[in-house]
Protein backbone atom coordinates (compact mmCIF):
# COMPACT_ATOMS: atom_id res chain seq x y z
CA UNK A 1 0.00 0.00 0.00
CA UNK A 2 1.12 3.56 -0.77
CA UNK A 3 2.43 5.99 1.79
CA UNK A 4 0.04 8.42 3.52
CA UNK A 5 0.13 12.15 2.75
CA UNK A 6 0.47 12.77 6.51
CA UNK A 7 2.15 10.17 8.71
CA UNK A 8 -0.02 9.01 11.62
CA UNK A 9 -3.12 11.04 10.71
CA UNK A 10 -5.24 8.02 9.70
CA UNK A 11 -5.13 4.23 9.65
CA UNK A 12 -4.14 2.53 6.42
CA UNK A 13 -6.88 -0.09 6.66
CA UNK A 14 -8.01 -0.08 3.02
CA UNK A 15 -11.49 -1.44 3.75
CA UNK A 16 -12.39 0.73 6.73
CA UNK A 17 -9.86 3.51 7.33
CA UNK A 18 -10.24 5.89 10.26
CA UNK A 19 -8.85 9.31 11.10
CA UNK A 20 -6.64 9.23 14.19
CA UNK A 21 -7.41 11.84 16.80
CA UNK A 22 -6.77 12.18 20.50
CA UNK A 23 -9.10 12.43 23.47
CA UNK A 24 -8.55 14.19 26.78
CA UNK A 25 -8.69 11.56 29.48
CA UNK A 26 -10.14 14.06 31.98
CA UNK A 27 -13.03 15.70 30.06
CA UNK A 28 -13.47 13.49 27.00
CA UNK A 29 -12.94 16.26 24.41
CA UNK A 30 -11.70 14.94 21.06
CA UNK A 31 -8.97 16.59 19.01
CA UNK A 32 -8.17 16.30 15.30
CA UNK A 33 -5.39 16.73 14.47
CA UNK A 34 -4.12 15.04 17.64
CA UNK A 35 -3.39 17.21 20.66
CA UNK A 36 -0.99 15.71 23.20
CA UNK A 37 -0.11 18.53 25.57
CA UNK A 38 -2.76 20.66 27.34
CA UNK A 39 -6.54 20.38 26.98
CA UNK A 40 -8.11 23.49 25.40
CA UNK A 41 -11.44 23.20 27.19
CA UNK A 42 -11.24 26.27 29.50
CA UNK A 43 -12.76 24.27 32.38
CA UNK A 44 -10.30 21.37 32.08
CA UNK A 45 -6.72 21.14 33.33
CA UNK A 46 -6.18 17.82 31.51
CA UNK A 47 -2.68 16.93 30.37
CA UNK A 48 -3.22 13.25 29.52
CA UNK A 49 -4.49 12.18 26.11
CA UNK A 50 -5.21 8.86 24.45
CA UNK A 51 -5.01 8.25 20.73
CA UNK A 52 -8.45 7.36 19.35
CA UNK A 53 -9.75 6.47 15.91
CA UNK A 54 -12.59 8.83 14.94
CA UNK A 55 -15.98 7.74 13.61
CA UNK A 56 -15.61 6.85 9.95
CA UNK A 57 -19.16 7.87 9.07
CA UNK A 58 -20.92 11.19 9.39
CA UNK A 59 -23.32 13.61 7.73
CA UNK A 60 -22.48 16.44 5.36
CA UNK A 61 -22.71 19.85 7.09
CA UNK A 62 -21.76 21.80 3.98
CA UNK A 63 -19.77 21.33 0.78
CA UNK A 64 -17.98 23.14 -2.03
CA UNK A 65 -15.37 22.41 -4.68
CA UNK A 66 -12.00 23.53 -5.99
CA UNK A 67 -12.48 24.63 -9.60
CA UNK A 68 -8.87 25.80 -9.88
CA UNK A 69 -5.77 23.88 -8.82
CA UNK A 70 -4.79 24.83 -5.25
CA UNK A 71 -1.26 26.25 -4.86
CA UNK A 72 1.66 24.26 -3.40
CA UNK A 73 2.10 22.32 -1.19
CA UNK A 74 -0.86 20.77 -3.07
CA UNK A 75 0.75 18.41 -5.59
CA UNK A 76 0.81 20.20 -8.92
CA UNK A 77 -0.18 18.77 -12.28
CA UNK A 78 -0.25 20.51 -15.67
CA UNK A 79 -3.15 22.96 -15.72
CA UNK A 80 -4.95 21.02 -18.49
CA UNK A 81 -4.72 17.81 -16.43
CA UNK A 82 -6.27 19.30 -13.29
CA UNK A 83 -9.68 17.89 -12.48
CA UNK A 84 -11.89 19.94 -10.11
CA UNK A 85 -12.79 18.07 -6.92
CA UNK A 86 -15.52 18.47 -4.33
CA UNK A 87 -14.84 19.18 -0.64
CA UNK A 88 -17.14 18.33 2.25
CA UNK A 89 -17.41 19.46 5.87
CA UNK A 90 -18.71 16.42 7.73
CA UNK A 91 -20.33 16.28 11.17
CA UNK A 92 -19.26 13.38 13.35
CA UNK A 93 -22.07 12.67 15.77
CA UNK A 94 -20.16 10.97 18.56
CA UNK A 95 -17.22 13.41 18.55
CA UNK A 96 -19.50 16.44 18.03
CA UNK A 97 -17.07 17.95 15.57
CA UNK A 98 -16.89 18.86 11.88
CA UNK A 99 -13.99 17.57 9.76
CA UNK A 100 -13.04 18.75 6.26
CA UNK A 101 -11.83 16.55 3.45
CA UNK A 102 -12.00 16.05 -0.28
CA UNK A 103 -14.93 14.08 -1.68
CA UNK A 104 -14.02 10.97 -3.71
CA UNK A 105 -13.12 11.49 -7.36
CA UNK A 106 -16.08 11.47 -9.71
CA UNK A 107 -18.60 12.91 -7.22
CA UNK A 108 -19.37 16.57 -7.88
CA UNK A 109 -21.26 19.18 -5.87
CA UNK A 110 -24.44 18.47 -7.87
CA UNK A 111 -24.75 15.09 -6.11
CA UNK A 112 -24.18 16.49 -2.60
CA UNK A 113 -26.62 17.80 -0.01
CA UNK A 114 -26.49 18.78 3.66
CA UNK A 115 -27.42 15.78 5.79
CA UNK A 116 -26.12 13.24 3.27
CA UNK A 117 -24.49 10.17 4.87
CA UNK A 118 -20.83 9.74 4.02
CA UNK A 119 -18.01 7.38 4.97
CA UNK A 120 -14.26 7.76 5.07
CA UNK A 121 -12.17 6.14 2.33
CA UNK A 122 -8.59 6.50 1.14
CA UNK A 123 -7.63 7.72 -2.34
CA UNK A 124 -4.28 8.80 -3.75
CA UNK A 125 -3.40 12.38 -4.64
CA UNK A 126 -1.56 12.81 -7.96
CA UNK A 127 1.81 12.03 -6.30
CA UNK A 128 0.41 8.62 -5.28
CA UNK A 129 0.27 9.48 -1.58
CA UNK A 130 -2.96 8.48 0.14
CA UNK A 131 -5.32 10.98 1.71
CA UNK A 132 -8.70 10.66 3.40
CA UNK A 133 -11.80 11.46 1.39
CA UNK A 134 -15.52 11.44 2.06
CA UNK A 135 -17.74 9.12 0.01
CA UNK A 136 -21.55 9.40 -0.06
CA UNK A 137 -23.23 6.18 1.03
CA UNK A 138 -26.92 6.98 0.97
CA UNK A 139 -29.68 9.50 0.67
CA UNK A 140 -29.98 12.79 2.59
CA UNK A 141 -31.98 12.55 5.79
Amino acid sequence: MSAPVLEGWFTLDAGAPQLLGSRCVACGTYYFPKLKTFCRNPDCAGEKFEEVPLSRTGKIWSFTNAVYQPPEPYVQVAAEDFKPFAIAAVELEKEKMIVLGQVVAGVGVESLKAGLDVELVLEPLSDGKLTWKWKPTGAAK
Binding site: V5, L6, E7, C24, C27, G28, T29, Y30, Y31, F32, P33, R40, N41, P42, D43, C44, W61, S62, F63, T64, N65, A66, V67, Y68, P70, P71, E72, P73, Y74, F85, I87, A89, E95, K96, M97, I98, V99, L100, G101, Q102, V109, K113, A114, L125, T131
Partner: protein, 395 residues
Protein backbone atom coordinates in the same frame (compact mmCIF):
# COMPACT_ATOMS: atom_id res chain seq x y z
CA UNK B 1 -26.21 60.00 26.23
CA UNK B 2 -22.60 59.76 27.26
CA UNK B 3 -20.79 57.63 29.74
CA UNK B 4 -17.36 58.23 31.16
CA UNK B 5 -16.03 55.45 28.91
CA UNK B 6 -16.60 57.35 25.65
CA UNK B 7 -13.82 58.95 23.63
CA UNK B 8 -14.28 61.50 20.84
CA UNK B 9 -13.37 61.12 17.17
CA UNK B 10 -11.86 64.47 16.19
CA UNK B 11 -10.68 63.64 12.70
CA UNK B 12 -10.54 60.83 10.14
CA UNK B 13 -8.64 60.33 6.89
CA UNK B 14 -7.68 57.74 4.31
CA UNK B 15 -5.36 57.09 1.43
CA UNK B 16 -7.54 55.70 -1.39
CA UNK B 17 -7.53 51.89 -1.72
CA UNK B 18 -5.97 50.44 -4.87
CA UNK B 19 -2.76 48.90 -6.18
CA UNK B 20 -0.46 51.86 -6.23
CA UNK B 21 2.94 50.22 -6.00
CA UNK B 22 4.20 52.51 -3.23
CA UNK B 23 5.40 51.95 0.33
CA UNK B 24 2.77 51.41 3.06
CA UNK B 25 4.51 54.25 4.92
CA UNK B 26 3.61 56.75 2.20
CA UNK B 27 -0.04 55.72 2.28
CA UNK B 28 -0.08 55.96 6.07
CA UNK B 29 1.36 59.47 6.14
CA UNK B 30 -1.23 60.65 3.60
CA UNK B 31 -4.03 59.19 5.77
CA UNK B 32 -2.55 60.62 9.00
CA UNK B 33 -2.14 64.11 7.53
CA UNK B 34 -5.74 63.97 6.25
CA UNK B 35 -6.98 62.96 9.72
CA UNK B 36 -4.91 65.70 11.38
CA UNK B 37 -6.26 68.32 8.96
CA UNK B 38 -9.80 67.06 9.51
CA UNK B 39 -9.36 67.30 13.31
CA UNK B 40 -7.65 70.69 13.44
CA UNK B 41 -5.14 69.16 15.86
CA UNK B 42 -1.46 70.03 15.38
CA UNK B 43 0.81 66.98 14.93
CA UNK B 44 3.00 68.19 17.81
CA UNK B 45 -0.03 68.00 20.13
CA UNK B 46 -0.57 64.27 19.47
CA UNK B 47 0.65 62.44 22.59
CA UNK B 48 0.23 58.82 21.55
CA UNK B 49 0.68 57.03 18.21
CA UNK B 50 -1.14 53.71 18.03
CA UNK B 51 -0.24 51.76 14.90
CA UNK B 52 -1.77 48.59 13.46
CA UNK B 53 1.00 46.25 12.27
CA UNK B 54 1.36 44.84 8.79
CA UNK B 55 3.15 41.50 8.59
CA UNK B 56 3.95 41.88 4.87
CA UNK B 57 6.32 44.83 4.95
CA UNK B 58 9.31 43.70 6.98
CA UNK B 59 10.50 45.25 10.21
CA UNK B 60 8.96 48.71 9.60
CA UNK B 61 5.55 47.02 9.25
CA UNK B 62 5.96 45.14 12.53
CA UNK B 63 6.71 48.37 14.38
CA UNK B 64 4.11 50.40 12.49
CA UNK B 65 3.46 52.85 15.35
CA UNK B 66 7.10 53.93 15.49
CA UNK B 67 7.41 53.87 11.69
CA UNK B 68 4.59 56.37 11.26
CA UNK B 69 5.74 58.49 14.21
CA UNK B 70 9.13 58.85 12.51
CA UNK B 71 7.66 59.47 9.05
CA UNK B 72 5.44 62.23 10.43
CA UNK B 73 8.45 63.69 12.27
CA UNK B 74 9.56 62.41 15.70
CA UNK B 75 8.03 64.75 18.27
CA UNK B 76 8.34 62.69 21.46
CA UNK B 77 4.90 61.03 21.54
CA UNK B 78 4.38 57.67 23.23
CA UNK B 79 4.11 54.82 20.76
CA UNK B 80 2.50 51.40 20.42
CA UNK B 81 1.95 48.75 17.75
CA UNK B 82 -0.89 46.21 17.75
CA UNK B 83 -1.29 43.04 15.76
CA UNK B 84 -4.60 41.19 15.65
CA UNK B 85 -4.99 40.16 11.98
CA UNK B 86 -8.12 41.80 10.52
CA UNK B 87 -8.91 43.36 13.91
CA UNK B 88 -5.50 45.05 14.22
CA UNK B 89 -6.99 48.51 13.67
CA UNK B 90 -9.55 47.99 16.43
CA UNK B 91 -6.84 46.76 18.79
CA UNK B 92 -4.84 49.91 18.03
CA UNK B 93 -7.97 51.98 18.71
CA UNK B 94 -8.55 50.09 21.98
CA UNK B 95 -4.96 50.84 23.05
CA UNK B 96 -5.56 54.55 22.40
CA UNK B 97 -8.83 54.47 24.32
CA UNK B 98 -7.13 52.86 27.33
CA UNK B 99 -4.44 55.53 27.38
CA UNK B 100 -7.04 58.29 27.11
CA UNK B 101 -9.44 56.89 29.72
CA UNK B 102 -6.63 56.24 32.17
CA UNK B 103 -5.52 59.85 31.79
CA UNK B 104 -2.10 58.95 30.34
CA UNK B 105 -2.82 61.04 27.26
CA UNK B 106 -5.51 63.31 25.89
CA UNK B 107 -5.17 62.96 22.15
CA UNK B 108 -3.95 60.07 20.00
CA UNK B 109 -3.36 59.06 16.38
CA UNK B 110 -4.66 55.60 15.39
CA UNK B 111 -3.28 54.41 12.08
CA UNK B 112 -3.13 51.35 9.81
CA UNK B 113 -1.71 50.91 6.31
CA UNK B 114 -0.77 48.07 3.98
CA UNK B 115 0.92 47.30 0.70
CA UNK B 116 -0.11 43.89 -0.59
CA UNK B 117 1.80 41.55 -2.88
CA UNK B 118 0.55 40.74 -6.38
CA UNK B 119 -1.46 37.56 -6.97
CA UNK B 120 -2.96 35.11 -4.50
CA UNK B 121 -1.61 34.65 -0.99
CA UNK B 122 0.40 31.44 -0.71
CA UNK B 123 1.65 29.41 2.25
CA UNK B 124 5.31 29.59 3.27
CA UNK B 125 7.55 27.04 1.53
CA UNK B 126 8.88 23.84 3.17
CA UNK B 127 7.27 20.72 4.68
CA UNK B 128 5.49 21.57 7.93
CA UNK B 129 2.99 18.85 8.91
CA UNK B 130 2.55 20.48 12.36
CA UNK B 131 1.33 23.72 10.78
CA UNK B 132 -2.42 23.66 10.00
CA UNK B 133 -1.85 26.25 7.26
CA UNK B 134 0.51 23.85 5.48
CA UNK B 135 -1.69 20.80 6.07
CA UNK B 136 -4.81 22.27 4.57
CA UNK B 137 -3.09 23.34 1.35
CA UNK B 138 -1.45 19.88 1.17
CA UNK B 139 -4.90 18.27 1.03
CA UNK B 140 -6.37 20.90 -1.32
CA UNK B 141 -8.17 23.35 0.96
CA UNK B 142 -7.69 27.03 0.03
CA UNK B 143 -9.09 30.29 1.46
CA UNK B 144 -12.20 30.36 -0.77
CA UNK B 145 -13.09 26.86 0.49
CA UNK B 146 -14.07 28.25 3.90
CA UNK B 147 -16.20 31.12 2.54
CA UNK B 148 -17.86 28.72 0.10
CA UNK B 149 -18.71 26.23 2.87
CA UNK B 150 -20.42 29.00 4.88
CA UNK B 151 -22.24 30.23 1.75
CA UNK B 152 -23.43 26.74 0.80
CA UNK B 153 -24.65 26.22 4.36
CA UNK B 154 -26.93 29.26 3.91
CA UNK B 155 -28.34 27.75 0.72
CA UNK B 156 -28.94 24.42 2.45
CA UNK B 157 -30.40 25.84 5.67
CA UNK B 158 -32.26 28.98 4.63
CA UNK B 159 -32.87 28.62 0.90
CA UNK B 160 -30.56 31.51 -0.08
CA UNK B 161 -29.58 31.46 -3.75
CA UNK B 162 -26.58 32.46 -5.85
CA UNK B 163 -28.78 35.29 -7.13
CA UNK B 164 -29.04 36.58 -3.53
CA UNK B 165 -25.26 36.58 -3.21
CA UNK B 166 -24.98 38.42 -6.55
CA UNK B 167 -27.48 40.99 -5.26
CA UNK B 168 -25.15 41.76 -2.31
CA UNK B 169 -22.39 42.56 -4.81
CA UNK B 170 -24.72 44.69 -6.93
CA UNK B 171 -25.91 46.57 -3.83
CA UNK B 172 -22.40 47.21 -2.48
CA UNK B 173 -21.12 48.29 -5.91
CA UNK B 174 -23.97 50.78 -6.07
CA UNK B 175 -23.19 52.05 -2.54
CA UNK B 176 -19.48 52.50 -3.19
CA UNK B 177 -19.83 53.80 -6.75
CA UNK B 178 -19.10 57.41 -5.77
CA UNK B 179 -16.79 56.72 -2.79
CA UNK B 180 -13.51 58.46 -3.65
CA UNK B 181 -11.58 56.15 -1.31
CA UNK B 182 -12.90 52.93 -2.86
CA UNK B 183 -10.76 50.93 -5.31
CA UNK B 184 -13.59 49.59 -7.47
CA UNK B 185 -16.03 52.31 -8.49
CA UNK B 186 -18.11 50.55 -11.08
CA UNK B 187 -21.72 49.44 -10.97
CA UNK B 188 -22.45 45.81 -11.75
CA UNK B 189 -25.60 44.05 -12.86
CA UNK B 190 -26.73 40.68 -11.50
CA UNK B 191 -26.06 39.27 -14.99
CA UNK B 192 -22.45 40.45 -14.88
CA UNK B 193 -21.89 38.81 -11.49
CA UNK B 194 -23.58 35.61 -12.72
CA UNK B 195 -21.25 35.59 -15.74
CA UNK B 196 -18.06 35.58 -13.63
CA UNK B 197 -16.53 32.14 -13.16
CA UNK B 198 -17.17 29.86 -10.19
CA UNK B 199 -14.10 29.69 -7.93
CA UNK B 200 -15.48 27.53 -5.12
CA UNK B 201 -19.10 26.54 -5.61
CA UNK B 202 -21.43 28.40 -4.95
CA UNK B 203 -19.11 31.44 -4.98
CA UNK B 204 -18.00 33.20 -8.14
CA UNK B 205 -14.95 35.37 -8.63
CA UNK B 206 -17.07 38.50 -8.06
CA UNK B 207 -18.45 37.14 -4.76
CA UNK B 208 -14.97 37.15 -3.21
CA UNK B 209 -13.09 40.30 -2.19
CA UNK B 210 -9.65 41.27 -3.49
CA UNK B 211 -6.60 42.41 -1.47
CA UNK B 212 -5.63 46.07 -1.78
CA UNK B 213 -3.17 48.74 -0.74
CA UNK B 214 -4.75 51.38 1.47
CA UNK B 215 -4.47 53.39 4.69
CA UNK B 216 -6.83 54.83 7.28
CA UNK B 217 -6.19 57.06 10.29
CA UNK B 218 -8.11 58.71 13.11
CA UNK B 219 -7.40 61.40 15.68
CA UNK B 220 -9.19 60.50 18.92
CA UNK B 221 -9.28 62.28 22.26
CA UNK B 222 -10.91 62.51 25.65
CA UNK B 223 -14.41 64.01 25.62
CA UNK B 224 -12.99 66.83 27.76
CA UNK B 225 -10.30 67.66 25.18
CA UNK B 226 -12.92 67.66 22.41
CA UNK B 227 -14.98 70.14 24.40
CA UNK B 228 -11.91 72.30 25.03
CA UNK B 229 -11.17 72.68 21.30
CA UNK B 230 -14.80 73.36 20.40
CA UNK B 231 -15.69 69.86 19.18
CA UNK B 232 -18.10 68.82 21.93
CA UNK B 233 -20.48 67.34 19.36
CA UNK B 234 -17.87 65.13 17.64
CA UNK B 235 -18.97 61.48 17.16
CA UNK B 236 -17.92 59.20 20.00
CA UNK B 237 -16.61 55.67 20.32
CA UNK B 238 -19.13 53.98 22.60
CA UNK B 239 -17.76 50.42 22.49
CA UNK B 240 -14.78 48.42 21.25
CA UNK B 241 -15.24 44.66 21.46
CA UNK B 242 -12.16 42.52 20.77
CA UNK B 243 -13.18 39.31 22.57
CA UNK B 244 -11.67 35.93 21.71
CA UNK B 245 -13.82 32.99 20.66
CA UNK B 246 -15.23 30.76 23.39
CA UNK B 247 -14.36 27.05 23.21
CA UNK B 248 -15.80 25.00 21.47
CA UNK B 249 -15.81 26.52 17.97
CA UNK B 250 -19.05 26.08 16.04
CA UNK B 251 -17.50 26.70 12.61
CA UNK B 252 -14.41 25.37 10.88
CA UNK B 253 -12.22 28.47 10.81
CA UNK B 254 -9.37 29.08 8.39
CA UNK B 255 -6.75 27.53 8.51
CA UNK B 256 -8.14 24.60 10.57
CA UNK B 257 -9.38 21.34 9.09
CA UNK B 258 -11.80 20.57 11.93
CA UNK B 259 -13.86 22.34 14.57
CA UNK B 260 -13.31 21.82 18.26
CA UNK B 261 -15.21 18.86 19.68
CA UNK B 262 -18.31 19.98 21.61
CA UNK B 263 -18.43 16.82 23.74
CA UNK B 264 -17.58 18.50 27.04
CA UNK B 265 -18.87 22.07 26.51
CA UNK B 266 -21.35 23.40 23.92
CA UNK B 267 -20.31 24.88 20.58
CA UNK B 268 -20.28 28.71 20.42
CA UNK B 269 -20.48 31.15 17.51
CA UNK B 270 -17.52 33.55 17.48
CA UNK B 271 -19.01 36.00 14.98
CA UNK B 272 -22.14 36.62 17.04
CA UNK B 273 -20.12 37.03 20.27
CA UNK B 274 -18.22 40.05 18.88
CA UNK B 275 -21.16 42.48 18.46
CA UNK B 276 -22.92 41.07 21.53
CA UNK B 277 -20.12 42.38 23.72
CA UNK B 278 -20.15 45.73 21.88
CA UNK B 279 -23.90 46.19 22.41
CA UNK B 280 -23.49 45.38 26.09
CA UNK B 281 -20.60 47.81 26.50
CA UNK B 282 -22.35 50.69 24.67
CA UNK B 283 -25.70 50.05 26.31
CA UNK B 284 -27.45 50.12 22.95
CA UNK B 285 -29.57 47.45 21.29
CA UNK B 286 -29.67 46.26 17.66
CA UNK B 287 -32.84 48.26 17.07
CA UNK B 288 -30.93 51.50 17.85
CA UNK B 289 -28.51 50.92 14.95
CA UNK B 290 -28.71 53.35 12.00
CA UNK B 291 -26.13 51.59 9.81
CA UNK B 292 -23.52 48.83 9.86
CA UNK B 293 -20.13 48.31 8.22
CA UNK B 294 -19.37 44.57 8.07
CA UNK B 295 -16.51 42.45 6.75
CA UNK B 296 -17.83 41.10 3.44
CA UNK B 297 -14.86 38.89 2.56
CA UNK B 298 -17.55 37.16 0.49
CA UNK B 299 -21.00 38.37 -0.51
CA UNK B 300 -22.66 35.55 1.44
CA UNK B 301 -20.66 36.44 4.55
CA UNK B 302 -22.33 39.88 4.62
CA UNK B 303 -25.64 38.03 5.12
CA UNK B 304 -24.15 36.01 8.01
CA UNK B 305 -22.92 39.23 9.65
CA UNK B 306 -26.35 40.89 9.40
CA UNK B 307 -27.74 38.02 11.47
CA UNK B 308 -24.77 37.99 13.86
CA UNK B 309 -25.40 41.71 14.48
CA UNK B 310 -29.03 40.78 15.28
CA UNK B 311 -30.31 43.21 12.62
CA UNK B 312 -32.77 40.43 11.69
CA UNK B 313 -33.56 36.90 12.85
CA UNK B 314 -31.23 34.01 11.92
CA UNK B 315 -31.86 32.92 8.35
CA UNK B 316 -33.68 36.11 7.31
CA UNK B 317 -30.82 38.28 6.05
CA UNK B 318 -31.40 37.46 2.37
CA UNK B 319 -35.05 38.45 2.74
CA UNK B 320 -33.99 41.70 4.45
CA UNK B 321 -31.58 42.44 1.60
CA UNK B 322 -34.14 41.56 -1.11
CA UNK B 323 -36.55 44.07 0.48
CA UNK B 324 -34.00 46.83 -0.14
CA UNK B 325 -33.55 47.50 3.59
CA UNK B 326 -29.73 47.24 3.45
CA UNK B 327 -29.32 49.81 0.66
CA UNK B 328 -28.14 53.33 1.52
CA UNK B 329 -31.73 54.61 1.47
CA UNK B 330 -33.13 51.52 3.21
CA UNK B 331 -34.22 50.96 6.79
CA UNK B 332 -30.86 49.53 7.96
CA UNK B 333 -28.07 50.25 5.45
CA UNK B 334 -25.20 47.76 5.44
CA UNK B 335 -21.82 48.67 3.93
CA UNK B 336 -22.84 52.14 2.78
CA UNK B 337 -19.13 52.65 2.01
CA UNK B 338 -19.28 49.87 -0.57
CA UNK B 339 -17.62 47.43 1.83
CA UNK B 340 -14.78 45.10 0.93
CA UNK B 341 -16.56 44.49 -2.37
CA UNK B 342 -15.53 48.01 -3.43
CA UNK B 343 -12.38 48.41 -1.33
CA UNK B 344 -10.63 45.04 -1.31
CA UNK B 345 -8.96 44.11 1.96
CA UNK B 346 -6.02 46.15 3.31
CA UNK B 347 -5.76 44.22 6.58
CA UNK B 348 -4.33 46.68 9.16
CA UNK B 349 -6.30 49.61 7.71
CA UNK B 350 -9.66 47.93 7.25
CA UNK B 351 -11.12 48.04 10.78
CA UNK B 352 -10.10 51.72 11.04
CA UNK B 353 -11.64 52.43 7.63
CA UNK B 354 -14.94 51.01 8.88
CA UNK B 355 -14.91 53.52 11.77
CA UNK B 356 -13.93 56.37 9.40
CA UNK B 357 -17.03 55.63 7.32
CA UNK B 358 -19.28 55.66 10.41
CA UNK B 359 -17.73 59.00 11.42
CA UNK B 360 -18.50 60.63 8.06
CA UNK B 361 -22.01 59.18 8.14
CA UNK B 362 -22.73 60.41 11.68
CA UNK B 363 -21.45 63.88 10.78
CA UNK B 364 -23.66 63.95 7.67
CA UNK B 365 -20.59 64.24 5.40
CA UNK B 366 -20.98 61.04 3.36
CA UNK B 367 -22.19 62.78 0.20
CA UNK B 368 -24.04 60.57 -2.30
CA UNK B 369 -23.95 57.61 0.06
CA UNK B 370 -25.26 59.54 3.09
CA UNK B 371 -27.59 57.54 5.33
CA UNK B 372 -30.41 59.82 6.46
CA UNK B 373 -30.21 60.93 10.11
CA UNK B 374 -27.51 58.39 11.07
CA UNK B 375 -27.15 58.37 14.87
CA UNK B 376 -25.54 55.06 15.87
CA UNK B 377 -23.31 52.87 13.73
CA UNK B 378 -21.65 49.50 14.31
CA UNK B 379 -18.70 47.73 12.64
CA UNK B 380 -17.84 44.04 12.62
CA UNK B 381 -14.92 42.03 11.33
CA UNK B 382 -13.19 38.72 11.89
CA UNK B 383 -9.76 37.47 10.93
CA UNK B 384 -7.29 34.70 11.58
CA UNK B 385 -6.12 33.26 14.90
CA UNK B 386 -9.27 34.05 16.92
CA UNK B 387 -9.15 37.78 16.24
CA UNK B 388 -12.17 39.93 15.52
CA UNK B 389 -13.76 43.18 16.58
CA UNK B 390 -16.91 45.23 16.71
CA UNK B 391 -16.96 48.99 17.32
CA UNK B 392 -19.97 51.19 18.06
CA UNK B 393 -19.90 54.90 17.15
CA UNK B 394 -22.64 57.31 18.18
CA UNK B 395 -23.37 61.02 18.14
Amino acid sequence: MSTNKDIAILGVGMHPWGKWGKSFIDYGVVAARAALADSGVNWRDVQFVSGAATIRNGYPGQVAGATFAQALGWQGAQVNTSYAACASGSQALAAARSKILSGECEVALVIGSDTTPKGFLKPQPGDRPDDPDWVRFRIGITNPTYFALYARRRIEMYGDTQADFAMVKVKNAENGFTNVNARYRKKFTAEEVAASSIVADPLRLMDICAVSDGAAAMIVSSVEYARKIGKASAPRIAAISTVTPTFASALVEMPDIATDSAVAVPAQSFRSALPRKAYEEAGVSPKDISLAEVYDLSTALELDWIEDLQLCARGEAAQLMRSGATRVNGRIPVNASGGLACFGEAVPAQAIAQVCELTWQLRGQAGDRQVADAKVGITANQGLFGHGSSVIVKR
